[in-house]
Amino acid sequence: MLTPSAIGTAIAAHRIRERRRWHAIFLFLLIALVSFVLDVATGPSMLSPAAVVSSIFRIGDSDAMTDAIVMSLRLPMALMALVVGAALGAGGAQMQTLLNNPMASPYTLGMAAAAGFGAALSLYFGGFGLEPMISVPLGAFIFSMLAAAFLFALSAMRRVSGETIILGGIALLFLFQSLLSLLQFLSSPELAQQILFWLFGSLTKTTWPTLAITAGVTFVSCLILLGYSWKLAALRMGEARAASLGVNVSRLRIEVLAVVAIMTATATSFVGVIGFIGLVAPHIARMVVGEDQRFYLPMSLLAGAVMLSAASVLSKSIVPGALFPVGIITAIVGVPFLLWLIFARKRSL
């Protein structure tokens, strides 16, 4: 017997859940904004948040000095922190979904190590006659995509599970790390220093054009991923069940992996290796909004943006006047955070 009122109540409960998730997303958006303003304000010469806002929006009278610092130096870096964090968060989220494994991320699958090796190779050979501004990111991008191609090939094979792909990714990670060490061993001390500096992911290399490219790629990629929302949610129910719900699993895996690879490779090419955001942001999103992909993807993206932006603020304020590479900060803060998330999850189950 059907009782319409019980169903009405359940629909209302579902709508409330949806609204709560919207609130959480809105809250993270606010945090991202605050962190962004602080990020612009922090640096060798401290600015007040009010001065930052008035300078960005050109309201009131601001002095030329502040405008110059904000517009040409800090604004692109602060925006880059948000965009790269978003790309890594969203990319990690979809890798975890795709491979059905909470340990998947661009970093653990060896794509970041491959990018590092590509950048180092490009530095070692003097950029192959190209400007270093172009040749280093290009090298990083090409090798990152090569690593992804290997993962594609694995996932295109029949009877290869998500776990096998993870193991393949870990093998890649070790391969490229040892190749990188070899290259550093062969390099002159100055060159080794340059390579090392690239490996510490850092936002200081940001320019307006690199920001525009990264933002454009990330935006388009996330829109495409949002279109796959329901198929990806079905995939999280297990590959066999997704197939029985009408998903072409190997095709979905290749398409999403391609989008994720391009998005994260682009981000990594311009800022270097930044670990843990791709791993941790999806865990935060899962805890806050669950895995309904319509909320999980935006939330992972925002959590990543907030994390990298906050890490950027931190990197400038630990020692006033000095700037630590942000990649080191995310790694140091990321590890205990990841451990906490893992144990918190165990307790809740």
Partner: protein, 264 residues
């Protein structure tokens, strides 16, 4: 209507199912029975187009599958596998809504929600709608996954041991619902069961597999003879009858002399 014409299925070079022919009718529930490892799941997966058949052919209405299933073959099937793990942060309602995967937009409208909630009400777990699927017991999860396959609008329903985690009451309500919906929607339903007595009560036709071959196919009362069951399962049985006339299979304990050792 599903026609199986001398179907053979091999896996890893080994013949799992051979020379199987049967007509499965719409509006009927067909139970596949047989001992462990005799190809019940293999047959179901082949019907779903997940495993290739090595010879023979399978027809669903006008669609013909020989070796490989034609495109859209799976669109006509609902398939529930044995595996009822779901370690995912989705609510039961979201899981059931996924049954309509092809028709989902970014916004779920009230119509689909209502449909999904009706399925939950029919399966008796409406009160769990807002819970995470990973937090449910095995049996509750199995009911939720059954609600999910009900959401599809198939021509044929394939269920692989849908009752394995359920208590007696829920086994009965699941099968009762399956029978009702099969009649109402004219589905061709195929369900792998281990419990012969449940099969005898709820299925219209039984297909008994033994050693990858069809041992018997027909109405429960005709199929479930002591000889057939003893031969197929390798245990002596008696067939009793309940008050409604359904056969009840009673395994007979071998009467060997047992020695009781004194406690020392």
């Amino acid at each position: 209507m599903i026609h199986l014409d001398s179907v053979e299925i091999r896996r890893g070079g080994q013949v799992i199912v051979s020379d199987l022919s049967a007509h499965l009718q719409p509006g009927h529930v067909h139970a596949i029975l047989g001992p462990n490892g005799t190809g019940k799941t293999t047959l179901l997966r082949a019907l779903f187009g997940e495993l290739p058949i090595s010879s023979g052919r399978i027809r669903l209405g006008d669609l013909v599958m020989a070796e490989r299933p034609p495109s859209h073959w799976r669109d006509h099937f609902s398939y529930m596998s044995q595996d009822n793990n779901a370690d995912v942060a989705l609510t039961v309602l979201e899981v059931v809504v996924l049954g309509r995967l092809g028709k989902l937009q970014l916004h779920i409208d009230d119509e689909i929600l209502t449909l999904a909630l009706e399925k939950l009400q029919e399966t008796g777990i409406l009160h769990l709608a807002d819970r995470y699927i990973a937090s449910l017991s095995g049996g509750q999860r199995q009911m939720a996954l059954f609600a999910q396959v009900l959401m599809r609008e198939p021509k044929a329903m394939l269920l692989d041991e849908p009752c394995s985690a359920l208590d007696m009451k829920h086994q009965m309500s699941l099968l009762e619902l399956l029978v009702q919906e099969t009649r109402r929607n004219n589905w061709t339903s195929v369900v792998v069961l281990h419990d012969l007595n449940l099969a005898a009560q709820y299925a219209d036709r039984l297909l008994v597999l033994g050693g990858g071959r069809c041992q018997a196919f027909g109405a429960p009362a005709d199929v479930l003879t002591p000889e057939l069951v003893s031969k197929t399962y390798g245990v002596p049985v008696e067939i009793l009858h309940d008050s409604a006339g359904h056969p009840v299979i009673q395994p007979v304990r071998p009467r060997t002399i047992s020695f009781h050792r004194e406690a020392s």
